[in-house]
Amino acid sequence: MTDPAGRDRDRRRSAGGFVRPVRPLVPITSSFFVLLGWGVVAHNSGAGWVQALGDVLAGTLLLGIAGPGVILARVRLEVTAVPSDATVGLPVDLRVVSSSRVRLTPIDPSGPATFVGPARGSSAGSDVVTLVPVRRGVVAGLTVNLASAAPFGLLWWTRRAHLDLPSELHIGPKLGQSVALPRQDDDHAGDSAQRSSRDIGEPRGVRPYRPGDSRRGVHWPATAHSGELMVREMEGPTAEPVVVVVTLPAEVDKAESVAERAFGTLVALFDRGMAVVLTTTEQSGRRTGAVADRRSAGRRLARAVGSGHPGDRDGNIGPPPSGSGPRPSPEGDAATTGVTVTMGQRRRGDQP
């Protein structure tokens, strides 16, 4: 039986590569010449005090040169708090606790360098590390570059380390431009397409508020009546959902671009009050599922991996066929945008 405390300790110890000095030539050469000069003075004067001070100087320089390596090898880092969602290109803050003061540069996902660890005027709490992710994905760990010159700042040492996150970080795409959306059947009035229904589905009743519920769903009369926060509970939408098919290319940058447009499209559909089923064509096949809001859409797109051979499990390739039933968007050409919006029909054989 393993020791849970030991396992926890091992998890907190940041794994990573070897420590190595950064541009060591100048500090080491300078130290060597300082000590050489000092030795010449000691030898020429024959003074024991000069040698004694030189010994202290040598000890200080040795510690200043080698000490950061030891400190860096022994430093313990732990990510204590991480948000569950982030967006490409937007900063996201993590909380990190470090046993020693080190400069931390996030590499993957990337971010600006910052110092973490004990500092003057701060309690022994955690420090904020900011990430600015450049790609979508679900991140379970951070690759960082650690650097230190403690305790004297004479020579910097660095090492690569991997930090486990306490929970997954979903990095969704940027909000791109929506593809042109098809007109709805009942949208005969000029402004009806812009009408946005705030409540999706049919009201079923009220229930106590749960974390994550939209504040728009708060039922104030029931809240006032019961004395606790109550929200409306809805039945699922009776109308057929909109199916958005996203075909992610294998090339990373193009896949990002497609994901951004898809996200923009999904948000536009949410704003119209439509129920949406998102189908992503990925490396592992088609994945289909309902997405209820921006967060779930962002998470679905964060997990989506580009495919070199787009196709579903039935062997269908490309956007859904046009004809009766689902009507493709007039401008939503999958060949150019990778995003297809069809109204009101779920494809058979999609993997939920």
């Binding site: 849970p4 405390a5 926890d8 300082v34 000092w38 003075v41 000691a42 030898h43 020429n44 004067s45 024959g46 003074a47 024991g48 005090w49 000069v50 040698q51 004694a52 001070l53 030189g54 010994d55 202290v56 100087l57 040598a58 000890g59 200080t60 040795l62 510690l63 200043g64 000490g67 020693s100 003061r101 400069r103 110092f115 660890g117 004990p118 500092a119 003057r120 005027g121 701060s122 230190s148 010159a149 403690a150 305790p151 004297f152 700042g153 004479l154």
Partner: protein, 719 residues
């Protein structure tokens, strides 16, 4: 990148340094360096005070203007630095030699003024690091002159400021990083250990390759009587009064550094440092030699007229005026010794054997026939002189090659010298018989000397606490055939007389033993109690060779590391171990109590919960990290077979107290504590089924005493 671009890049000003503490630390190192130079006489008081004031002002001004440095200041500072260099090189003009000893005073001043000028322009961290590093040069200049442990105060202050500054540098570079107390202690310990390791590994620095050697009269005035001996008070018969008059003799100080050495009594010698010696190897520092023995005292022959040497430093010392020619000297090495007088001293010029040159702060010195060098000026505290000797100590094998004592027929000089060095006031029949008996089977002079030393070592005892001999009592007879107890003068005199009685030339030498070696200052610290007397024996071809029958253990070259460890061992042995042990035990007990106090449960609920966990742990079922107290209580109930859920009730009470604002009543508390202390049987593997004595299978029941649902059909069916 061109050179100009590289220089521009290197000189690019850094961001302004906002840490006042870092500036304070850097200013502290510079001011400490200036103070150390002043303490070692490198700077005058006005210069030191003005420079300290200017450095402080400059540092403050730099701090105030760190964000907007004064543009007009830089050219002025550059000009000031240039002027300092010009002044320095003008000071050196006309100097015959350019080594550290001739340039150190101007060099110290140059370093100080560079630091002063620089202090006005230190807006950034890099500028402060230059101040920090530059202060080391001041400490080097001061340390080169330091000969006592008083410099340690400055060294400790400088090291303290320096470490503070370096840690501050890291704090500044790491955006306010700080090193915790434990880290700071670790840093200091690491620096100390590394420094001690370097000290232990490196050999001691010895004066070598220098062109000029220190000599300083320290204001010593001329003495009357050309070449005459003068004690501390300037009189020839005065002994050195470095010790307090105490003991049985009521005489303070060593009686030997005078015109005669009375062996009947010994003065009480104190531990005051008489002088410090920087030397390449430990030696007996000879002050004077005697060759006329009258049964009670050694005397310098009155006909011995000192010869004045007027060559000026360095004084070349010729071979002994009346001494026989050393025809086959040992090819030795040069041995430099610099003597730093710490107290008023007799006007003897101390030295190791076989002096070649003397650097002395006077126009002349005197040399007597018995190889004694005499100063014409009084030697007070601060007087310095340097002596170079030729180490020609013959090896035992070389001495064994000499078959017998010198013959008077070799030369008239030798015959005359032999008469002096074999002189005895009486036949010393018993001493001679004893010496002949001891050396009967020894063929060579060296073997005879060693046999006598061995005999003295095994048959006599050393003591300074013996009453003075009555007047007229022969010291040698009393020592050899009386109580055989005496001090170094009596021991060495007895040996010299025995040697003379069997025809071996010998004489008495007085001076100091090397003293304790200080690895920090690299100086031998000679105390008054180190005054000593020993024997010199003449060997044909090799000259006078020293033998110390009082201490037959040969001396070894010092090693700083070995000396430190040896001293540390001695210090440890000298420690009051029992009181220290008691203190350590008390400290450990206090630490345990403090630790327990800090970790004690903050609330009643926590205390009971811990007790509950302890009970479970003792029963072999510790609480898992992901287990709530309620779940754990259920497990304990199951283990104990308690169907009423006592542990769960206890858990409920704990949680209600901790989180539910439910303050338990005294009865509840009492019951809960009693329950939490209840012993729990060690967990045993639960049987799958129980077998009644009748052999009928029954399904096992859960903790509530109910049969499990969905049990195996066989078990259920059997029931």
């Amino acid at each position: 990148m061109t050179l100009i671009e590289m220089v521009k890049r290197a000189n690019r000003p850094g961001p302004p340094e906002n840490s006042a503490a870092l500036r304070l630390a850097c200013a502290g190192t510079v001011i400490t360096g200036i103070a150390a130079c002043r303490a070692e006489g490198e700077l005058s008081w006005p210069v030191a005070l003005v420079s300290i004031a200017l450095v402080s002002t400059g540092m403050y001004l730099s701090y105030r203007t760190r964000s907007r440095p004064l543009g007009w200041l830089k050219p002025i500072l550059a000009l000031a630095a240039l002027a300092a260099f010009v002044w320095f090189f003008r000071q050196l003009t006309g100097q015959a030699f350019y080594d550290v000893s001739t340039v150190e005073d101007p060099l110290a001043l140059l370093f100080v003024w560079i630091q002063v000028a620089h202090a006005f322009d230190v807006p950034a961290r890099r500028d402060l690091s230059f101040s920090l590093a530059g202060s080391a040069s001041l400490m080097a200049v001061a340390g080169a002159q330091a000969v006592d442990l008083g410099f340690g105060l400055y060294a400790v202050a400088w090291i303290g400021f320096g470490l503070w500054g370096l840690v501050g540098m890291w704090g500044s570079a790491s955006d306010g990083g700080r090193i915790r107390g434990r880290g700071l202690v670790g840093t200091v310990v690491a620096v100390s250990v590394l420094a001690a390791a370097v000290l232990a590994v490196l050999p001691a620095p010895h004066v070598a390759g220098r062109i000029d050697f220190p000599a300083n009269s320290a204001g010593g005035v001329g003495l009357p009587g050309a070449g005459g001996l003068a004690g501390d008070a300037g009189r020839a018969t005065e002994p050195a009064r470095a010790g307090s008059p105490a003991g049985r003799t009521r005489v303070g100080g060593f009686l030997g550094f005078a015109t005669h050495l009375d062996t009947a009594l010994r003065g009480s010698l104190g531990t005051a440092v008489v002088m410090r010696v920087r030397a390449q190897r430990p030696s007996y520092w000879i002050g004077e030699t005697f060759n006329t023995w009258d049964g009670e005292s050694w005397k310098v022959p009155t006909k011995n007229v000192p010869v004045a040497l007027f060559a000026g430093s360095p004084f070349a010392i010729p071979p002994g005026v009346d001494a026989p020619v050393v025809s086959n000297p040992v090819a030795g090495t040069s041995d430099l010794q610099t003597f730093y007088m710490a107290q008023s001293s007799p006007n003897l010029i101390f030295h190791a054997d076989n002096v070649i040159d003397v650097w002395f702060p006077a126009r002349n010195i005197y040399l007597s026939g018995n190889d004694t060098m005499v100063s014409p000026i009084a030697l007070g505290p601060g007087a310095i002189y340097t002596v170079r000797s030729q180490v020609n100590t013959a090896t035992p094998a070389q001495l064994r090659s000499i078959a017998g004592p010198p013959s008077a027929s070799e030369s008239p000089t030798q015959a005359r010298q032999l008469r002096v060095d074999l002189q005895l006031p009486s036949p010393y029949t018993r001493a001679k018989a004893l010496a002949e008996k001891i050396t009967a089977k020894k063929a060579t002079t060296e073997a005879k000397v060693q046999a006598l030393i061995a005999w003295i070592g095994s048959h006599t005892r050393y003591s300074t606490d013996i009453p003075p001999l009555p007047p007229g009592q022969d010291t040698v007879d009393e020592f050899l055939f009386g109580n055989r107890m005496g001090f170094c003068e009596q021991i060495s005199t007895a040996m010299a007389v025995m040697l003379r009685s069997i025809g071996i030339p010998a004489r008495e030498a007085v001076g100091y033993v090397p003293g304790s070696y200080n690895p920090i200052t690299d100086l031998y610290e000679v105390q008054n109690k180190d005054a000593h007397a020993w024997v010199q024996v003449w060997f044909p071809h090799y000259g006078w060779q020293s033998f110390d029958p009082t201490a037959v253990v040969p001396l070894a070259n010092p090693s700083p590391g070995a000396t430190l460890f040896h001293d540390a061992g001695r210090a440890l042995k000298a420690l009051p171990l029992v009181p220290l042990g008691v203190l350590l035990v008390l400290a450990a007990a206090a630490a345990i109590i403090v630790r327990w106090w800090r970790r004690r449960p903050a609330t009643w609920a926590l205390a009971v919960a811990r007790r509950m966990e302890r009970t479970g742990r003792r029963a072999g079922r510790p609480r898992q990290p992901d287990e709530t107290l309620n779940e754990y209580a259920s497990v304990l109930d199951a283990m104990s077979g308690d169907t009423s859920g006592t542990w769960r009730a206890l858990a409920w009470l704990i949680e209600a107290s901790a989180y539910g604002h439910h303050e338990p009543t005294p009865d509840e508390r009492h019951d809960a504590e009693r329950l939490s202390r209840r012993r729990l049987k060690r967990a045993r593997p639960a049987p799958t089924d129980a077998v009644r004595p009748g052999g009928v299978l029954v399904p096992r029941r859960d903790s509530h005493g109910l049969p499990p649902t969905g049990g195996s059909p066989s078990a259920g069916g059997a029931g």
